[in-house]
C-alpha cells in the first residue's frame, strides 16, 4: 500500500471535488484586501465539516460534482478549468435557480471561519476563548441618568 493510497482512503473528497471546494470557499469568503483575513479556502472548512457535520458530506460531494456537470454542460469544460468570472457566473446562476444550492456549505464556512485564530484577531476579539481572560467593558457614564432621576417615581403604589 502506498502513502497516497492511505491518504486517499481517509479523504472524503476526490481530487476534483477538493479543487472545486477550494474555489467555492474562496467565492464565499475571499481574503480581505488588506491581507489581514484569510480566504475561507485556507481555514480547513472540510476539517470542520468532517468533525462536526459529517452527515452533510454526501450532499457536499453531490453539489461539488454538480458544479462540474453544469460547467461541462454549459461550457464544455470542468468547473476548475473556467476563468474566475465564468465560475462566479455559473455559481450565481445555479443559486438563482436552486436557492438551497451550497447554502449548507455557506453556513458551515462562516461557522468555521469565525473561530479561526487569524480571523478572530482581525475582528478584534483575540485568538482565544472568552475564558479566562474575559474582556474590558466601560462602566458607562452614570450622569446620563440625571433626567431619569429628575422625573422621579414611575411605579404605582399598591
Amino acid at each position: 500500500m502506498t502513502h497516497n493510497q492511505i491518504i486517499g482512503t481517509d479523504n472524503p473528497l476526490n481530487d476534483d471535488q477538493r479543487r472545486n471546494l477550494a474555489i467555492v470557499l474562496d467565492l464565499i469568503v475571499p481574503a480581505s484586501a488588506d491581507g489581514q483575513r484569510p480566504s475561507a479556502a485556507d481555514v480547513d472548512v472540510l476539517g470542520y465539516v468532517r468533525e462536526a457535520e459529517s452527515h452533510t458530506l454526501d450532499g457536499l460531494r453531490a453539489e461539488l460534482d454538480q458544479l462540474d456537470a453544469e460547467a461541462i454542460g454549459s461550457q464544455g469544460e470542468s468547473f476548475a478549468s473556467l476563468d474566475p468570472a465564468t465560475r462566479q457566473a455559473l455559481v450565481d446562476a445555479v443559486r438563482e435557480r436552486e436557492p438551497h444550492f451550497l447554502r449548507t456549505l455557506a453556513m458551515q464556512t462562516v461557522t468555521c471561519y469565525y473561530r479561526n485564530d487569524r480571523v478572530l484577531e482581525a475582528i478584534g476579539v483575540g485568538a482565544r476563548p472568552p475564558f479566562p481572560e474575559g474582556y474590558e467593558v466601560p462602566s458607562g457614564d452614570l450622569s446620563l441618568l440625571e433626567p431619569v432621576r429628575r422625573r422621579g417615581q414611575v411605579y404605582r403604589e399598591a
Binding site: 467565492l27 464565499i28 469568503v29 475571499p30 480581505s32 484586501a33 483575513r37 462536526a52 462566479q88 455557506a106 453556513m107 462562516v110 461557522t111 471561519y113 469565525y114 473561530r115 485564530d117 480571523v119 478572530l120 475582528i123 478584534g124 476579539v125 485568538a127 482565544r128 476563548p129 472568552p130 475564558f131 479566562p132 481572560e133 474575559g134 474582556y135 474590558e136 467593558v137 466601560p138 462602566s139 458607562g140 457614564d141 452614570l142 446620563l144 441618568l145 433626567p147 431619569v148 432621576r149 422625573r151 422621579g152 417615581q153 414611575v154 411605579y155 404605582r156 403604589e157 399598591a158
Partner: protein, 535 residues
C-alpha cells in the same frame, strides 16, 4: 437509607428548590433534595474553548426536545406558538439564564384591584421585600440604587458595565423622555462569598465558566450542602405518594441506575417549575386524588403564563463594542410597565437591552438574511454589523387564562417511562396588542438612539418560553387556587409548592428574583409555623 423518613424532601434543585433548602437548613431538620440532573462542571462550559459558539448551539441548546441530555424530559409544545425552554441539572434553568434580575412591582400583586383583570395575589410586595433583599445578598446581585421604577432597594454589588452600547441606548431613551436604568443582575461584579467577579466573558446563557453568574448550583448549593442538606442527583421523581388521610407520605423515584425507590418524608416540597410541577402532580394519581394530587380545584396545570417575547435590533454606524459584556444584562426601560389603557391593552412590558451578537452568530445571521453577501463585500458587511448592533427584548406580561395549560401527553414519555407534559397555549389579544405596541416603541427607541437600520423580529419569538408560571396558583380560596397564601397545598397539608407555579399573575419581568423571594418567604412561613404546620 432506602425507606427511612426524612423531615423535608424537596423535589428539584433549581432556583426555588435551592433557596427553600437554604432557608430551612437552619432548622437542623433532615432535608433531602432529589434532582433529576447532575452537577455541571464550569470547566467544561463552551466559553472555555474557541469553538464556544458551535458547542453552545448543541450542548447548551435551550430546548430540551433538541438538547436531549439524559436528564431532559421531552415536552410536547406543538400546540403553542412559544416553545418551552429549560435546563435540567443542579441549578436548573439558572444554568442557562441570562441573570437579568428585575423585581416585580408592587402593582403586580394587585392586578385585579388596580386594573380589573386576573386576580390579586394573597401577598404583597412589602411582604416579599425582606426576602428579595435576603436573596440578593445570598447570591450576589449587582445593580444601582435609586431606580425610580421600583421601590428603593440597595443592590449589594456595583452595577454591570453598560459599555458604549448602554450609553447609546440611554441617550436615546433620554431623547424620548423615557425611563431607563442599569439592570439589576444576578452576576457578581466584585468577589462575593468566595466567588470570583465577572470577567465579561459574554455568553452567560451558555453557562458561566468563571462562576460569576449566580446560578443556583454555584450560589446556593455549596452553602446548602455545608449546612447539612443532602442532595441526591440523577434521581427522577415519578409521583408523590399519599395516605388515606390526604397526607403526603413521600415520593417514588428512579435513581441514577434506573432502580425504582421510595423515599418517605414528613414534608414534601415541589420545586420543578411551572411545567415540571403540574406534570408531577398530574402524574401523582390515587384513589383519593384521581385527577392528580392537590387538584381538587381542577386548577393544577391551568393558567400557564409564558411572557410573550419580542425583539427589535438596531444597527449603528459607529463601533459600540456591543459584542462584549454579559449577554443579557445591560440596561432596561420600564417606561411602559404600568397600565395605561389608552394604549389599547392592560398591564405592560419591560424593555431589556441585551448585547450584540458574537462572531459566528453575526455571520450566520447575516448570511441567512442576505445582509452579509458572498464574495468581495463579505468583510465590509460583517464589519458593519459586528459590535454595532443592539438588541431590545420585550418581556410582555401574560395574563392568566384557564385554557392555557399543562396536561399529560398520552404518548410522549421520558427515559423512565414517566408521561411527559403537553402544552396548550394561545396568545391572547391583550398580549398581541402589547407585543405590537412594544415592537413599535422599541423601534422608536432605536431610532432615537441613532440606529441607521432597525429590524423587528416576528413576534412572539418561539424560542423564548423560559418563564413558566401560574400552573398551581396561590390563593386563600381552595376552589380558586392550589396552594394557600404561604405555599401549602389546600388539599394536602404537608405538601408545599415553591416555584413559579404559584404565581397568580406573571408581571412583565424576568421572574427568577421573585421566584426565589417567594420560595424564601414560604420557607420562612413554614419555620414560623413549625409547631402547627399541618393544622
Amino acid at each position: 437509607m432506602a425507606d427511612d423518613v426524612v423531615d423535608v424532601l424537596i423535589v428539584g434543585a433549581g432556583a426555588s428548590g435551592a433557596a427553600v433548602a437554604w432557608s430551612l437548613a437552619e432548622t437542623r431538620m433532615r432535608i433531602v433534595c432529589l434532582e433529576q440532573g447532575g452537577w455541571m462542571n464550569p470547566a467544561e462550559y463552551p466559553s472555555n474553548g474557541r469553538d464556544w459558539e458551535t458547542r453552545a448551539a448543541k450542548e447548551m441548546q435551550v430546548s430540551p426536545n433538541l438538547r436531549k441530555r439524559p436528564a431532559d424530559y421531552p415536552i410536547n409544545d406543538d400546540d403553542s406558538p412559544i416553545a418551552i425552554l429549560n435546563f435540567n441539572a443542579v441549578g436548573g434553568s439558572t444554568i442557562l439564564y441570562s441573570a437579568h434580575f428585575p423585581r416585580f412591582h408592587p402593582s403586580d400583586f394587585r392586578v385585579k384591584t388596580l386594573d380589573g383583570v386576573a386576580d390579586d395575589w394573597p401577598i404583597d410586595y412589602a411582604t416579599l421585600e425582606p426576602f428579595f433583599a435576603q436573596n440578593d445578598h445570598n447570591i450576589g446581585v449587582a445593580g444601582l440604587a435609586g431606580d425610580p421604577a421600583i421601590p428603593a432597594h440597595e443592590p449589594p454589588l456595583p452595577h454591570i458595565p453598560m459599555g458604549r452600547m448602554g450609553e447609546t441606548m440611554g441617550r436615546g431613551f433620554n431623547k424620548l423622555g423615557w425611563h431607563w436604568w442599569p439592570s439589576d443582575s444576578a452576576i457578581i461584579t466584585r468577589p462575593h462569598n468566595g466567588r470570583g467577579e465577572c470577567l465579561n466573558l459574554g455568553p452567560c446563557n451558555t453557562g458561566c465558566a468563571q462562576g460569576a453568574k449566580s446560578s443556583a448550583d454555584i450560589a446556593y448549593w455549596p452553602v446548602n450542602e455545608r449546612a447539612g442538606v443532602e442532595l441526591r442527583t440523577h434521581c427522577r421523581v415519578r409521583e408523590i405518594t399519599v395516605d388515606d388521610r390526604d397526607m403526603a407520605t413521600g415520593v417514588t423515584y428512579f435513581d441514577a441506575d434506573g432502580n425504582e425507590r421510595h423515599q418517605r418524608a414528613e414534608v414534601v416540597i415541589v420545586a420543578c417549575n411551572g411545567v415540571g410541577t403540574p406534570r408531577l402532580l398530574l402524574n401523582s394519581t390515587s384513589a383519593r386524588f384521581p385527577n392528580g394530587l392537590a387538584n381538587r380545584s381542577g386548577l393544577v396545570g391551568r393558567n400557564l403564563m409564558l411572557h410573550p417575547w419580542g425583539v427589535v435590533i438596531g444597527y449603528f454606524d459607529e463601533p459600540l463594542g456591543s459584542n462584549f459584556g454579559p449577554q443579557g444584562c445591560c440596561i432596561l426601560s420600564q417606561q411602559f410597565y404600568e397600565t395605561d389603557t389608552t394604549r389599547g391593552f392592560v398591564r405592560g412590558y419591560n424593555m431589556q437591552i441585551t448585547r450584540g451578537g458574537p462572531p459566528v452568530g453575526t455571520a450566520r445571521g447575516g448570511v441567512t438574511q442576505g445582509t452579509i453577501p458572498w464574495g468581495a463585500g463579505h468583510h465590509d458587511a460583517f464589519d458593519s454589523l459586528f459590535g454595532r448592533n443592539i438588541h431590545l427584548g420585550l418581556c410582555c406580561e401574560d395574563l392568566p387564562e384557564a385554557h392555557n395549560r399543562v396536561t399529560l401527553d398520552p404518548v410522549l414519555a421520558d427515559s423512565n417511562g414517566i408521561p411527559s407534559p403537553r402544552i396548550s397555549y394561545t396568545l391572547s389579544e391583550n398580549s398581541r396588542r402589547m407585543l405590537d405596541h412594544g415592537l413599535a416603541r422599541g423601534a422608536e427607541a432605536m431610532e432615537a438612539a441613532g440606529a441607521s437600520k432597525i429590524q423587528k423580529a416576528p413576534a412572539p419569538i418561539r424560542m423564548a418560553g423560559w418563564h413558566l408560571l401560574g400552573t398551581a396558583r396561590m390563593g386563600t380560596d381552595p376552589e380558586r387556587s392550589v396552594v394557600n397564601e404561604w405555599g401549602r397545598s389546600h388539599d394536602v397539608r404537608n405538601l408545599f409548592i415553591v416555584d413559579g407555579s404559584v404565581f397568580v399573575t406573571s408581571g412583565g419581568v424576568n421572574p427568577t428574583t421573585t421566584i426565589q423571594a417567594v420560595a424564601l418567604y414560604i420557607a420562612d412561613s413554614m419555620k414560623q409555623r413549625l409547631a402547627n404546620l399541618f393544622d
